[in-house]
Symmetry: C2
Subunit: 234 residues, 2 copies
DNA sequence: TCAGCATAGAGAGCAGTGCTCTCTCTCACC
DNA sequence: GGTGAGAGAGAGCACTGCTCTCTATGCTGA
């Protein structure tokens, strides 16, 4: 982490490589056994080194988990950003919304353990340090930018309730995140869309749709369409 | 679990009581350290018995977790059912919706660890047995019943997209859950409301609204109002 | 009534965990 | 070339889930 500077000598190179190897091994193990069972000793075994040596690179198991967390956030963030930017017609906000939603879902379904690490129960007794914030915000940033673009194009969400003064106060950081700032209706519908998207994903990936929904793909498609309509994107 | 029959003799009584005590101690510990760190030995210590003796009551740590899971589902289910039934005017579906939403959130905020156990990342390497299904369904049942009642009263959700044949197929179990069955629009809006409610709760409780929303209560109030409006309940 | 047996608990033990401490070796810099 | 920082190994501590064996006790059928 701290050694992001260009390696100058053999020792620094070795350190960077081994750090990378530890992260890769840990990531593989994470995908197999989940965050709770991630074991420093197992990583060390995998790399053929003593477990105590791993502590030269990550001061604790939680620090290793945090590194994996940041990597996962960045990986997801990049997937979403790329999906968004692949929509060539930047004015087609509906297409961008669909691309964003499916990018998140595809990423999550491909590696449910990493999704669970990001959006599932927080690892108990451990608060994500501030390092994670920048990476964690990428998806939300992409979403808010999309909404801001849509607003700039004159789109309007469908029938949205007016905000009380208290409610408007509550969402100030969201409103003032983009430039120009979002109107009330966009903030309301945007936050609802955010909750709906991740709520659906969590319910799906964590098994709560078992026996309730027969075809997750079709249902997700429908949900994304409906939210797009509510956002006035279509 | 299996000893739900009325205790007949001293041994059965003692067994029932100790089973209860183990669950209580485990529940307390769960609230303090989270599911991953729930320790059979700590429970045994708390009760002043050998750890091996606990295994006479629960065959494994996972079985103990499952029992806690079922209890939590039932506890939440009962809270929601009671909140719903406390609305005296059964025709006031908007009030019932608000009661339901706030019951879930109040319960979750009062015991976030239990909420995480139910709606957070599934405990890895462990699939919830069928015993949990009945308890897990109570909240969803309350919600679907509410929607069915609203439909029976002639309410209609706002502008809802039509379903393709594929999409209609995907949600068959949900539609046919209530009697009479739900119309397409109710299924669509109902599932979206479900995802929005739990999505918002998870994002809030798992820390994703940190620095984004200043007043969680006000924002939740607003969200519930908006979804109620979309459902055509207001 | 009482022998026999299922049940309950204790304790030791195994294999695993996170993490620390000490020891040794080696690389890099002055 | 000497010196000190960095890196790895290994032992060890306190903990975990779980199993096995041993003993005590309450219940039950003859």
């Amino acid at each position: 982490m701290a050694d992001s500077a260009a390696p100058r000598n053999a020792r620094a190179v070795a350190r960077a490589e081994l750090t990378r190897a530890i992260l890769d091994s840990a990531s593989t193990q994470l995908a197999q056994v989940g965050p709770a069972a991630l074991s420093v000793r197992a990583v060390a075994r995998d790399l053929g080194m003593a477990s105590s040596a791993v502590y030269r690179y990550f001061p604790s198991r939680d620090a290793l988990l945090t590194a994996l967390l940041i990597e996962a956030y960045d990986d997801l963030g990049e997937s979403v950003e790329q999906a968004d930017s692949r929509v060539r017609d930047r004015a087609d906000v509906a297409a961008r919304w669909h691309a964003l939603c499916h990018a998140v879902r595809d990423w999550a379904r491909a590696q449910p353990h990493r999704y669970a690490l990001l959006y599932g129960s927080p690892v108990p007794g451990y608060a994500a340090p501030d390092d994670t914030v920048a990476s964690a915000t990428r998806v939300t940033t992409a979403l808010l930018t999309l909404l801001s673009d849509a607003q700039a194009m004159g789109r309007t969400p469908v029938a949205t309730l007016p905000l009380s003064e208290e409610e408007r106060e509550a969402v100030v950081p969201v409103r003032s995140f983009t430039d120009p700032v979002l109107d009330d209706a966009w903030v309301v519908r945007g936050l609802a869309a955010w909750a709906t998207l991740f709520g659906n994903l969590s319910l799906e990936l964590f098994g709560h749709m078992h026996r309730g929904i027969l075809d997750y793909d079709a249902h997700f498609q429908q949900l994304v369409d409906q939210v797009a309509a509510d956002l006035g994107l279509a």
